[in-house]
Point group: C2
Chain length 330, copies 2
DNA sequence: ACGCGAACCTAAACCGGTTTGATAGACCGC
DNA sequence: GCGGTCTATCAAACCGGTTTAGGTTCGCGT
């Protein structure tokens, strides 16, 4: 028994294919009575339209894409993607859309987008990990592929964006440390070519605080940067990290060196609350971003006008890893 | 300027659509000369076949699916998926296949598979987080959807599987602890209805060691379980955890309670090497599993016979979190 | 009684590939 | 020189939807 097609439904309801199609797409101009007959027939036969056929005639893919250009190991440690993707799915699945993932080595990122666009596999894409002077923006415009980004304030991307402001989180962390009496507060940032790393660094710079070390968001990088800071002359009494992973690795280094130092992270990963001492960090909501981004992207694909979507700013979560100067951290 | 179609290529090469199609699919029976003319024309025009049209006429989706039925928060902390997916992609992208992701709440898992199958969006799926008496096996058979699982020894799944053996890793961890003088070695496992949790537990049981607490693979669960163990009478001197996340959370609890206890994790997450003390754990290779699983799935879809694929067993990575009894853990 | 527009529906073309049955021509042996 | 096979190619049907350009039918105004 093969899958029923629109033809079968049409025959069962005694109408033409065209009419069934009209009903399916909620077009006006079909009598109530006929409409019901068709819907009944469809239910009876268990018919669902073949989205392949639909895709062919409407040249829509009914799917959106996500290109991840990171090394697998780094991906594994990043709490952002799974949550973001879950949020995206939340929106997509309600609307019968699918999410197509491409994971590519960093140097094949462009090819990844070209593949998705060229084979018309997706109707639009998410643009993540925005970089300074990101070449992908031009690429996507060239490809004519609708896109939505996760962007930061003051950096126009040319696409509608979910506007995430990391600054209040960083500022709050620094203020919190200052209130605890810290006067030399360092920052361990992510690669500065990433917009989100750059803006966190900028927010921190504007507080006028101490030394800065650039790392790469990895545990290894965070540990290394911490060692540099603590073994240098005039070590800071507190460190603001650009993510939890580096912060946790940094805490371990400080413990090993026996240097008491307050630390804050960024992301509020699940583990943050369960390390010792529990990590003071900044809570973000990638799940929400995913939902919003997907809504925006679908809207864009439908031809809506592009607008940015603000989301609530990151919030500081105070835990035990920050303590008054001179006090003991553990 | 619209995308060229097969018709354009045919016209340019002075042949019929059919012949172009034959060449494209590498079918025999086309003269060398004609073949070259067609390929030249195709290159000239920059033609790539529309996979939508292809999908319609061959009723193949050229995509495989992955259903993730976990809460977003848990997903974020799990290092398995990103690495697995990266491996999968590695295989897929070479073969022009796409990966369609579905993230659903746990109670909608079945609907997720039905959606993928019903809309013919994918030609096959990966079946992950296999459970004891998994109902999805019957479901997929009912749906007639080819599938590949990540399975454990001795538990036939009915589908070709990447055969992962966690036991040597657990056994090695216990032996290692025993050699260090530990005599009461506890196990904090994952939910027992998961096959991988069950088999780790079983391997540990067969070593004849101490108390067992079931947790849920989360940091919170690991911390809670650890507290129970250490605050009970006859606390263990070592704990074997079923994943790194619980192990790290457990270490923190032990530190807070001031109880010296050796711990081992499972997964070898990036962070494992950078906590204090560095975590002794078991290294697995989900990237490889992803590659193998994708190869198997594509083979299966092509109609090859199903066979299980063994992968190298997990290996113990000894670090500082395991120390001789009576010695200091930090 | 007739013309007209609205409401409803149909037939057929189309999307861009794959696949099948037919055919034209080359080559073969006798 | 003729039937028979083989090769290379073509034309047309098909996949399962959407869309457009007409038809019918009907009620209504005059």
């Amino acid at each position: 028994m093969t899958r029923p097609t629109i033809r079968d439904v049409a025959a069962a309801a005694g109408v033409s294919k065209g009419t069934v199609s009209f009903v399916l797409n909620g077009r006006p101009g079909v009598a109530e009575d006929t409409k019901r007959r068709i819907l009944d027939a469809a239910r009876e036969l268990g018919w669902t339209p073949s989205h392949q056929a639909r895709a062919l005639s409407t040249s829509r893919a009914f799917a959106v894409g996500l290109v991840l250009a990171r090394e697998p190991e780094l991906l594994g440690a990043d709490p952002f993607f799974p949550a973001f993707i879950a949020g995206v799915e939340r929106t997509l699945s309600d609307r019968g859309q699918a999410l197509v993932l491409q994971v590519v080595p960093e140097d094949e990122e462009e090819a990844g987008y070209r593949r998705l666009a060229g084979s018309k596999r997706v109707d639009g894409v998410f643009l993540l990990d925005l970089r300074v002077g990101d070449t992908r923006i031009a690429l996507l415009e060239e490809l004519g592929l609708p896109a939505v980004t996760i962007a930061r304030p003051d950096v126009p991307s040319g696409f509608p964006a979910v506007l995430v402001d990391d600054r209040p989180g960083i500022v709050a962390a620094v203020r919190h440390l200052q209130e605890l009496g810290h006067r030399r507060i360092a920052h361990v940032g992510g690669p500065a070519h990433f917009l989100h790393a750059a803006i966190r660094k900028k927010a921190w710079e504007e507080t006028g605080e101490g030394p800065y070390v650039e790392a790469d968001f990895s545990a290894a990088g965070g540990a290394q940067a911490t060692r540099e800071l603590l073994e240098g002359k005039e070590p800071p009494t507190a460190i603001v990290y650009a993510n939890d992973l580096m912060a946790i690795a940094g805490m371990a280094v400080a413990q090993e060196l026996g240097v008491p130092v307050s630390v804050t992270g960024f992301d509020n990963t699940e583990l943050a609350a369960y390390v010792s001492p529990p990590l003071t960090t900044v809570r973000t909501d990638p799940y929400l971003w995913g939902r919003k981004a997907a809504e925006a992207l679908l809207g864009l694909i439908e031809g809506e006008h592009k607008t940015d979507i603000p989301v609530p700013p990151a919030q500081l979560v105070v835990r035990g890893s920050t303590a008054p100067t001179g006090g003991t951290e553990r």
